[in-house]
């Protein structure tokens, strides 16, 4: 018996229990969150995957729910990330000022997520959105910076209210808040308004250009175990809204015949492409590992937006798979960084080095995650990127392809940086003695995520079965797959074969390696220094300004967006001052004049 309302009520109840339990004993409360979130994930996966989740029980008066494959897909991914991250809590909870609030809000935001993905009513969607925003907003300041929460809230609120506006416009035309019915029956200007306002919400949640500035601030400063949730799970809410906007609404706009794509969708794709490029460029020059991954989230958000704006079932399959692959990869990477941060106390790459010798398992977790993130086989990211490439090439979208390829190669650059600067390189003396591998309870979720990363890259076809059901639900032709193969427009890939051959190649290389003379072990400091005697590790560790020659080429232009938003804020302030001057001046005569004028104006409108 698992109904969605039961799960939500359970989460709300357990969040209260967690609050009380953590007050008594912080460790006990954290363990309780593990059980609560694991229970929710397991029941969601068990019932949601087969579409046997009960939705018509009415525990919550006034709330109605409906099962969609789309919602279930997102909900399972997000609940999975939540469940995995909850394993980190016992080790991190003592760092926070408000321990009990942390556990409570964590579970409460999960309740909001479940509600948002299973609701069938737009007003409820808005309600759950706000529940998530409010509960997470108080989680973020428990990390490094309080102002991070402000920018997170500002962007989220802008997105939410844009969506609310869209919902009301839709209600005005259609006459209902129903999700399945509402969007598809929109026409004319209203469709365009709703399309734009929903996309603003999607962009703000997903952190896509031009509403991306909150991503590095919030991700970088959030508590270490909460960053994987933000990047792996919560930004996917934006993807959910983007799917609603890009696929369900058909705004009237001219078709660009050369590429067979409506103009409105092409604009969105261009924005997604810009997001890829800017995210990549900013990630390359970032020094904080968490901010770097945040910018990579921005770039991957761009991929998702591009995929859903192509109006093409292969691209949709790629987009959905990318959501899954990126959720796993980014959760894995953030969790590895969180583990390093717990053991060393910093996430700055310029302060770390040679952690691999102490934390090899964390290293493997990070390695697999970034292979997936960079879209290299045999991990999941390759398959989704391949599908998106298929669609882009088939449509002949040259400029978007430039951005996609740039992002794809650029992702090698930025994901390699933490690998080189943080895990590899010289073992710095300050970490030689104190650092050891992360505790076992933290390794469990990381290893599970790593295995899933490999699974998504080797045997994706069962997952594509589910994704095909979503695509069918959205009214498109499903992706052609067989037991092992995936068919794109201009080729077939067989991920299992690729992985197998890769394994074969590694075995061959290993045989060559092992049959040759054994090599002599030397220390890291015994290295080629042009025959200088160097005794300090820092001098032999290259981690600051890693891509300096490349960064120099665009260093002048990085502040454009920040400056733009700053000046926008100034303009708004000026406007506020002007209206204050005009309306709120202390002379009664002026106020009366304006009241009369406005009344006259309104009456004039009435007469017309």
């Amino acid at each position: 018996m698992a109904s969605i309302e039961f799960l939500i009520l359970l989460l709300v109840a357990s969040s209260l229990i967690a609050y009380l339990l953590t007050k008594v004993n912080s460790f006990l409360g954290s363990v309780f969150t593990i059980f609560a979130s694991m229970f929710v994930f397991v029941s969601l996966a068990a019932y949601g995957f087969n579409a046997t989740l009960v939705t018509d029980v009415l525990y919550l008066p006034g709330f109605t729910f409906g099962y969609t494959y789309l919602g279930a897909f997102f909900a399972i991914i997000v609940a999975f990330v939540y469940a995995m991250v909850s394993f980190f809590h016992p080790y991190f909870i003592d760092h926070y000022k408000y321990k009990n609030a942390y556990n409570m809000l964590f579970l409460l935001s999960l309740a909001g997520v479940l509600g948002a993905f299973f609701t069938d009513n737009f007003l409820q969607l808005f309600f759950f959105f706000e529940l998530i925003v409010w509960s997470t907003m108080f989680l973020i300041p428990l990390g490094k910076s309080k102002s991070a929460a402000v920018s997170y809230f500002a962007y989220s609120a802008a997105g939410s209210f844009a969506m609310l506006f869209g919902i009301f416009v839709m209600r005005a035309q259609v006459g209902s808040f129903d999700m399945t019915l509402g969007l598809s029956s929109l026409t004319g200007t209203n469709a365009i308004i709703v399309y734009v306002s929903f996309l603003i919400a999607a962009f703000a949640k997903l952190g896509v250009f031009p509403l991306h500035l909150w991503l590095p601030i919030a991700h970088g400063n959030a508590p270490h175990p909460f960053s994987p949730v933000l990047s792996g799970a919560l930004v996917k809410l934006g993807a959910f809204v983007a799917v609603l906007a890009l696929i369900r609404i058909t705004p009237a706009s001219g078709l660009i015949t050369a590429i067979n794509l409506p103009f409105a969708h092409y604009i969105v794709a261009i924005l997604g492409a810009m997001s890829i490029v800017f995210g990549t460029l900013m990630a390359i020059r970032e020094d904080d590992a968490k901010k770097l991954l945040a910018y990579s989230s921005m770039s991957h958000g761009g991929y998702i937006i591009v995929a859903f704006s192509l109006l093409d079932s292969v691209a949709y399959a790629g987009g959905f798979y990318h959501i899954l692959a990126h959720a796993l990869a980014s959760a894995g990477a953030f969790m590895a960084i969180a583990a390093v941060a717990r053991q060393t106390g910093t996430t700055k790459m310029s302060e770390l080095g040679g952690i691999i010798h102490k934390m090899p398992i964390t290293y493997i977790v990070y390695l697999v995650a970034i292979i997936s993130m960079a879209g290299i086989p045999p991990m999941g990211g390759f398959i989704s990127k391949w599908l998106i490439f298929q669609a882009v090439i088939d449509k002949g979208l040259i400029f978007i392809a430039v951005a996609l390829f740039f992002g794809s190669i650029g992702s090698f650059l930025y994901v390699f940086r933490p690998l080189a600067a943080l895990f590899l390189g010289q073992e710095l003396p300050q970490f030689k003695k104190t650092v050891k591998e992360a505790p076992i309870l933290m390794l469990i979720p990381m290893v599970i995520i790593t295995l899933l990363n490999i699974y998504t890259g080797v045997l994706p076809n069962q997952l594509f079965g589910f994704i095909n059901r979503i695509i069918g639900e959205l009214g498109f032709a499903p992706l052609v797959t067989s037991t092992f193969e995936i068919n794109g427009y201009n080729g077939i890939i067989n991920p299992a074969l690729i992985a197998g051959i890769f394994g074969f190649g590694v075995v061959i290389a290993f045989i060559i390696f092992i049959s040759l003379k054994k090599s002599k072990q030397v220390t890291l400091m015994e290295t080629y220094t042009a025959a200088n005697f160097i005794h300090t590790e820092e001098l032999l560790h290259y981690s600051v300004d890693f891509y300096a020659p490349l960064e120099r080429l665009y260093a002048k232009y990085i502040h454009i967006m920040t400056n733009f938003f700053d000046s926008l804020a100034n303009k708004v302030k000026e406007l506020g001052r002007l209206s204050k001057y005009v309306f709120m001046s202390k002379y009664v005569e002026v106020a009366i004049f304006w009241i009369v004028a406005i009344t006259a104006f309104l009456l004039w409108g009435e007469i017309l």
Partner: protein, 301 residues
């Protein structure tokens, strides 16, 4: 399946032998070009086997593991490479993207191993290699996009057959601007002279390879030879109409590698930011122009 794997492994070995011989012959040619006698044509083999016979050093498990991953990834990539229509291990799976991205596994392995050696010069070399990759890959991929869009397949054999079916209308000629971009990008891929910033022996002591000696270096040499085989073969299949039998393949392969090598030997070396600026200027403009006129206007020679 076993047979396919054996054929694939045979192709990888063939690729190694072929490229190593061709590289040796090219060293001779370059020697003659510089009024020298030049080494023996099998000098490259001697070098590699000598390296394998030496006793090397190791900087820990990641140093060795990266090398194994690099060579393994490259062998795996070479196993998918078709030689002719029929001489191919996994027919139908010779997708262009597999080559590009599976190649990256090998590169990642090498980069990891180099950084794991703890030498800053190796990290600088890796940084330069990745930056160069960011530079040459985008124009090249745009040209490939044009080719795939025109021939409507991304299979190597398919693209080759498409060109031969049109009466040997090679894409190198059919897409002249794209052909130039492809040659320039190929030089970047092979790490040839104007773009060999990441090796730079006099500057950063051979970059990523600074700490390798003995068997690790030998395995990286094998990896490098197979990588060159893959990259030149890609060029042969995509831009020179593939090959209907193995001799034509060998001739085309030899010509492409030699021409690229000759061009590279009369050039100096760019600085790393010059490489990026160069590729994002003319080759990218040419590639995009070519893509627009070929895809949107349909003007193909």
């Amino acid at each position: 399946m076993i047979v396919n794997i054996l054929i694939g492994f045979g192709i990888a070995v063939l690729g190694f032998v072929l490229q190593t011989s061709v590289a040796g012959v090219n060293r001779k040619i370059i020697g003659r070009l510089q009024k020298r006698y030049g080494p023996k044509w099998y000098q490259e083999f001697l070098d590699i086997f000598k390296l394998l016979s030496k006793r090397s050093i190791s900087h820990g498990w990641i140093f060795d593991f990266g090398v194994i991953m690099a060579l393994g990834g490259i062998i795996a990539t070479a196993m998918f490479m078709p030689i002719t229509n029929t001489f191919v291990a996994f027919a139908g799976y010779d997708n262009f993207f597999i080559f590009v991205y599976l190649l990256a596994v090998g590169m990642l392995g090498m980069a990891m191993s180099a950084s794991g050696s703890g030498n800053p010069l190796a990290s600088i070399g890796v940084m330069r290699a990745l930056t160069t990759m960011l530079a040459y890959e985008v124009p090249f991929m745009i040209v490939i996009l044009t080719v795939i869009k025109l021939s409507n397949t991304s299979s190597m054999v398919g693209i080759g057959e498409f060109q031969r079916a049109l009466g040997n209308n090679w894409f190198l000629i059919a897409l002249p601007l794209g052909g130039i971009v492809a040659v320039i990008s190929l030089m970047g891929m092979l790490g040839k002279k104007p773009f060999e910033t990441y090796i730079a022996p006099a500057e950063i002591a051979s970059g990523p390879m600074v700490e390798y000696g003995g068997k690790q270096l030998g395995m990286l040499f094998i990896m490098h030879e197979i990588t060159v085989f893959i990259e030149v073969s890609l060029f042969v299949h995509i831009f020179l109409g593939g090959a209907s039998n193995i001799f034509i393949f060998l001739i085309k392969y030899f010509v492409v590698y030699t021409v690229v090598n000759l061009i590279s030997n009369v050039n100096g070396r760019f600085k790393i930011d010059q490489v990026v600026k160069f590729y994002y200027k003319w080759p990218l403009i040419m590639a995009v122009t070519q893509a627009i006129i070929a895809i949107y206007f349909g003007w193909v020679i």
